[in-house]
């Protein structure tokens, strides 16, 4: 068993215990054996760039452990986060399948493991293994649905407090395990900086700081380092009008 940072490296896809819960990875044994032979496993520290927006596609990354942010830069040099990728996601898929440049820059938010597969190998892999094609289609369908959701959310959220409340409630769907089940409070782990939260909600760091300060003052939220505790979920839900 190889450890890196604070997690166990999953070197053998056939032995991965998370496989069946992940959209792409739950492949047939034959396909997994092939995947094992074409992938290159790497562990990246926080802040590593996996691919750059506008770069010709080199291949895909299957994010095994850790999270990564997908961002884009405006012509004025302003960086905006499109979304946060979770373990099990395939990154760079549209670029590799359609042969167009990467749509976003992918940067790890925490120490992560990713399996890289070159474009040529991956395209061959899809064509040789029907179940891979099916998984790719499912992943693309899922990503498209998420993108539509994001577009709707941007079109509907008018105020920064509403956008932040939505984001916090979204994170609350994956609470920390140690939180008491009896308590009405929900603890979440937030590894994004206020600057990154601003990039994710299309606002400034100062505004994020002011709005979060307001949430804390009203007793809706407690922040202790990367652990945020939602004290009054109902109040946040009331902010979300759409």
């Amino acid at each position: 068993m190889t450890m890196a940072y604070n997690f166990q490296i999953i070197e053998d896809c056939l032995k991965c215990t998370f496989r069946e819960h992940r959209l792409f990875c739950d492949l047939s044994r034959e396909a997994l054996l092939r995947l094992q032979s074409i992938k290159a496993t790497s562990v990246y520290p926080k802040g590593s760039l996996l691919c750059l927006e506008g770069q010709p596609p080199r291949g895909i990354f299957v994010l095994c452990t850790g999270r990564a942010k997908l961002s884009t830069t405006s012509s004025e040099g302003k960086s905006m986060i499109l979304r946060i990728a979770e373990p099990g996601e395939v990154l760079g898929l549209t670029a590799v399948v359609s042969g167009t440049p990467y749509e976003a820059t992918v940067e790890t938010l925490e120490p992560s493991q990713a399996n890289f597969i070159s474009q040529a190998e991956f395209l061959r892999f899809i064509q040789e293994h029907p179940d891979v094609g099916l998984r790719v289609a499912r992943q693309l369908t899922h990503n498209c649905k998420c993108a539509y959701g994001e577009i709707r959310s941007l079109g509907l959220s008018n105020s920064v407090p509403e956008k932040l409340a939505k984001l916090i409630l979204q994170w609350a769907q994956h609470p920390l395990e140690f939180a008491s089940k009896k308590s009405q409070e929900t603890a979440i782990r937030v590894t994004l900086t206020q600057e990154e939260i601003a990039q994710l909600t299309g606002t400034s760091r100062e505004t994020v700081s002011r709005v979060l300060g307001g949430f804390r003052k009203k007793g809706w939220l407690r922040v202790k380092g990367a652990t945020w505790t939602i004290v009054n979920k109902q109040a946040l839900e009331n902010l979300v009008t759409t």
Binding site: A137, T141, K145, R152
Partner: protein
């Protein structure tokens, strides 16, 4: 819808990635029709009975957002619609409407899925079509993050900003 003669070598994003044999097999099931401006080719919340390939004419793809419609894209010949719904069985979230008189090719859903089961290599072509949809959504998302989405909606529709 009026039935018009079949376009034999219709170039579209699906067929571009299929072998000539598969294209010929699909052609046995396709039907080309002329549709007037304003026709809803894909309707939000309704599972399409067929894949729709635009042969000529202009269509718009919109996403319902509360009381407004967000224009995702305007598309012309070669685009394929209904793929996500046909492959996943999920109801479409978007509307695809003809902006002018169009000629489209229709492939029945059941027939298409049967062919995919027989020829799973078709998934690569399907992935290409789905990628196109996703790229379109991602580009709008980027534009929306860069400037208020209402402008994104208003400009292409000719509405006041």
């Amino acid at each position: 819808m009026n039935t018009i003669p079949l376009k034999s070598e219709a170039a579209n994003e699906l067929y571009a990635s299929l072998s000539p044999e598969l294209r010929t097999e699909l052609a046995n099931h396709e039907r080309s029709v002329a549709v007037p401006a304003g026709t809803n080719l894909i309707k939000r919340g309704v599972l399409p009975d067929q894949l729709v390939i635009v042969n000529s004419g202009k269509v718009e793809i919109t996403l319902d957002c509360a009381h407004e419609s967000i224009l995702l894209d305007c598309a012309m010949e070669g685009r394929v619609f209904g793929m996500r719904a046909v492959v996943s069985g999920e109801l479409p979230e978007e509307d695809v409407t003809c902006q002018e008189n169009c000629s489209v090719t229709l492939i029945p859903r059941d027939m298409f899925l049967k062919m995919v089961r027989q020829h799973p290599e078709m998934y690569f072509a399907i992935a290409k079509v789905l990628s196109h949809d996703l790229v379109m959504a991602q580009r709008l998302l980027k534009t929306s993050l860069r400037r208020p989405i209402r402008k994104t909606i208003a400009k292409p529709l000719g509405l006041p900003n």
